[in-house]
């Protein structure tokens, strides 16, 4: 048992750190440091382009497709450094999700058509899974794709679709057969967002941001060439896709960055003649959060670098998502509480000597309530653990 990274890995870490320091644009860093998860298209692409030039655009891909050929440790350290430096998360839907699916299930033609644009970041994707009546119970989705010659005709809608308003393409699950079990009869299709009949309706979060959308399909025609896997067998593709994320579901790097900001805040916020650092009750909670985060961090490392390595990680990974989001929410909530009366303001009312923005802190606190809901709610994750790990 050895919890230290070796010299080679530490060298790699230093390389990543210095790359990010030199190449991450200030405006993007500032946005991410305010806990913005969903960036404007322009920012996503500018940053991805920097990474692409370095050969790090899609590092997890096989080398023949443009991947970096890193070890698990290198992947881990890359994501960690990216997160600590307030660089954007990897582009999720194209790079992390669709591309590996295409490599596994896609035709040669599909791979040639789509992978290059994803690699360069010129082509952005969104994911069409959830529907108004199919959230946690994804398999009960109803948005229809009816076969019409060598096309599917899509009618219905998808909802809570992140990035639909910035994406060029959507991949998604559609109902092609309703006769059997609900997991059957689902087909995985790719849709050009500029197709006729696609309408994107923005959904506003209660704190005022627009991150997700409802996407309506009115007789949208999609060529069968854009189907991944066989007809009615999309559920298998989706399961493969949802099992891909080994790194990062715990978001430890982000939370470390947020915790760092929280500590700075405690040092900065003046209360009476001192600062919040003198408030032992508040600092107890910061300490509690830091310890919880460290426990999560080591747990993730144990899963990744234990016997069997990351390949052996199964449903245990669900706990990384559950605790990871709980801790994120906890830290951001504490930051909001630290503001005292400044917590009310929807504009930046901080005094000039402080470098925090109360309005952004409040917004992050509210907005991050979503993290325990999205990507498989924490309740769903617990049920997965109960069944797959505990055998209940």
């Amino acid at each position: 048992m050895d919890m230290k990274f070796d010299a080679q890995a530490e060298g790699f870490r230093a390389e990543v750190r210095s790359f990010v320091e030199s190449n991450l644009p200030d405006d993007i860093r500032a946005k991410v440091s305010e806990e913005e998860m969903i960036l404007p298209r322009d920012m996503m692409q500018r940053w991805h382009h920097e990474l692409f030039k370095q050969g790090w655009g899609c590092p997890s891909w096989p080398v023949e497709h443009g991947g970096a050929g890193w070890s698990d440790e290198e992947h881990y350290l890359f994501e960690r450094e990216i997160a600590l430096a307030d660089a954007p998360r990897p582009i999720p839907y194209g790079v992390v999700m669709l591309a590996p699916c295409l490599m596994e299930y896609g035709s040669k033609a599909q791979q040639e058509k789509f992978l290059p644009g994803i690699l360069t970041g010129d082509q952005l994707w969104c994911q069409g899974f959830s529907e108004p009546n199919a959230g946690s119970d994804l398999a009960s989705l109803k948005c229809r794709a009816e076969r019409d010659g060598d096309h599917y005709v899509i009618n219905g809608s998808k909802t809570w679709t992140s990035d639909a308003h910035v994406a060029d393409w959507m991949f998604g699950l559609f109902r092609t057969d309703s006769s059997g079990r609900k997991q059957q009869g689902i087909t995985f299709l790719m849709i050009d967002m500029k197709s006729e009949g696609v309408t994107i309706s923005p959904l506003e979060n209660f704190e005022g941001t627009h991150e997700v959308n409802q996407v309506f399909f009115d007789n949208v025609r999609v060529s069968v060439d854009n189907r991944v896997g066989a007809e009615n067998e999309g559920w298998g593709v989706a399961k493969y896709l949802l099992g891909l994320e080994r790194f990062g579901t715990a978001e430890v790097g982000r939370s470390l960055a947020s915790l760092g900001r929280l500590k700075t805040l405690a040092k900065t916020v003046k209360v009476g003649s001192g600062t919040l650092l003198n408030d032992s009750d508040f600092m107890n909670e910061v300490a509690r959060a830091e310890i919880a985060l460290r426990a999560l961090e080591v747990t993730e490392q144990r899963f990744l670098f234990g016997p069997g390595g990351s390949e052996s990680m199964g449903a245990e990974a669900s706990m990384l998502k559950v605790r990871g989001t709980e801790i994120q929410q906890d830290i951001l909530e504490l930051a909001h509480q630290a503001l005292g009366y400044h917590a009310h303001a929807m504009i930046d009312v901080a005094s000039p000597e402080n470098d925090h923005n109360p309005a952004a802190i409040a917004k992050a606190h509210y907005n991050f309530r979503k993290t325990s809901i999205y990507a498989g709610s924490n309740e769903i994750q617990k049920t997965i653990i109960a069944k797959a790990v505990l055998g209940l």
Binding site: E204, F206, G340, I347, N378
Partner: protein, 398 residues
């Protein structure tokens, strides 16, 4: 001992609820918040007509002589519908402070106007570094000729933007944390030299940061006696804290009920959400928190009313009783704040993706609850305040 409301009180609550249901449906919220102050002017006149604005004041100032229980009823209903208005600022903060600290002529002048809806007020007490400590006032008012010279800054002055009068807490003597030496001044927000930065708050209201730089104000701006503001301020903030607890309690019940409805109608995996035992038990926790928080609101409200009676009879030392009342206020503000936060978070989680959407009330309840916690002291602050008093009484117990 009885927990029954009087018939009058039941009628009063019914009238409030009916009025708010009719004129303030959640569907109109986004539109209503577009008003620059977060509420339409006609609302204020309606509240005056319904008697809210005269509610807590003595009859000799055209008030209705309402009790803390009566104010609680209003605030619970406000909490249910997320009403944005300067009711708290004008009536329960500024109005009550004038009633407590003002001279007889000031009371006669101002309170009837408040009750009639002709005057809106804001109270400037918090400062950037004050935390939730009311005695921490560095804004100074130095006597100069026939007036005072004001220097300093106030933050989070709720509803200052729509106020006709701003009451400012300033230090006329003593060190920055002293309870002694605080005075109240009434300011005209339109006066020259007042630097006001208005902003919207996360719960749909407005607040302002105000800077005073060598601002001269005449003697007649002084409210009540010089240097004696603290105990009045403390008492009025305690009362207003309980009012906020009642508002939070109203919001909690609404979240609990709406979650129950959602559980009975929303299907996942071919079943109502409400049939999943893990969710059932969590909604039961929410329900229990609503009940328990409600109880502490009642406890604090009754303590306020009993104290008022005791104070009016005025025999004997009331300091000890005052401390006990403050302790009950802190108990409520702590527990209600904590429970409301947790109920709000559970409410969002229960609603899944829908819980994040602006078109459902659930997230707005959570924002309001969060803002209530950031007003007059958050749960941590009040637990500490309670604890310190408790330890004092353990020490002095034989």
């Amino acid at each position: 001992m009885n927990f029954t409301f009087s018939e009058e009180q039941n009628l009063f609550r019914d009238s409030i609820r009916r009025y708010l249901e009719e004129t303030y449906p959640f569907e109109n919220r986004a539109k209503t918040l577009e008003h620059p102050n977060g509420y339409p002017e006609e609302l204020w006149q309606s509240l005056a007509e319904l008697g809210w604005l005269a509610l807590p004041f003595a009859e000799e100032y055209d008030g209705l002589g309402g009790s803390a229980v009566d104010s609680m009823i209003v605030m619970e209903e406000i909490g249910r519908v997320l009403l944005v208005s300067p009711f708290l600022s004008t009536v329960l903060l500024s109005g009550q402070l004038i009633a407590a600290a003002g001279s007889e002529s000031q009371k006669r002048d101002l309170i009837p106007q408040i009750g009639a809806g002709q005057l809106k007020l804001a109270l400037a007490f918090a400062e950037a570094n004050s935390g939730y400590d009311l005695a921490h006032v560095s804004t100074s008012a130095v006597k100069e000729g026939n007036g005072y010279r004001l220097n300093g800054a106030k933050c989070a002055v709720f509803n200052a933007q729509s106020a006709d009068i701003i009451i400012v807490v300033a230090r006329t003597s003593g060190a920055v944390d002293d309870q002694e030496g605080l005075s109240l001044f009434r300011l005209d927000p339109t006066m020259d030299g007042l630097e006001i930065k208005n902003y919207r708050t996360h719960d749909g209201g407005t607040a302002s940061d105000i800077v005073f730089e060598d601002l001269f104000i005449p003697d007649k701006a002084l409210l009540g006696d010089v240097g004696t503001a603290y105990p009045h301020l403390q008492k009025v903030i305690d009362q207003a804290s309980v009012a906020l607890c009642a508002e939070a309690s109203g919001a909690m019940w609404a979240i609990s009920e709406q979650s129950g409805v959602y559980f009975k109608t929303r299907e996942q995996f071919g079943q109502n959400l409400g049939s999943f035992q893990a969710l059932q038990h969590r909604l039961v926790e929410v329900y229990m928190k609503c009940q328990l928080s409600q109880s502490l609101v009642y406890d604090a409200v009754c303590a306020l009313d009993d104290f008022d009676v005791l104070e009016q009879s005025a025999d004997g030392d009331t300091t000890n009783i005052a401390q006990k009342v403050s302790q009950k206020v802190s108990a409520a503000k702590y527990q209600v704040g904590l429970d409301a936060r947790s109920v709000g978070q559970e409410g969002i989680q229960f609603h899944g993706g829908m819980g994040m959407m602006t078109e459902l009330p659930i997230g707005h309840y959570y924002k309001r609850i969060t803002m209530i916690n950031a007003t007059f002291g958050d749960p941590r602050y009040h637990l500490k305040r309670y604890r310190d008093t408790m330890c004092q009484s353990i020490i002095s117990a034989t």
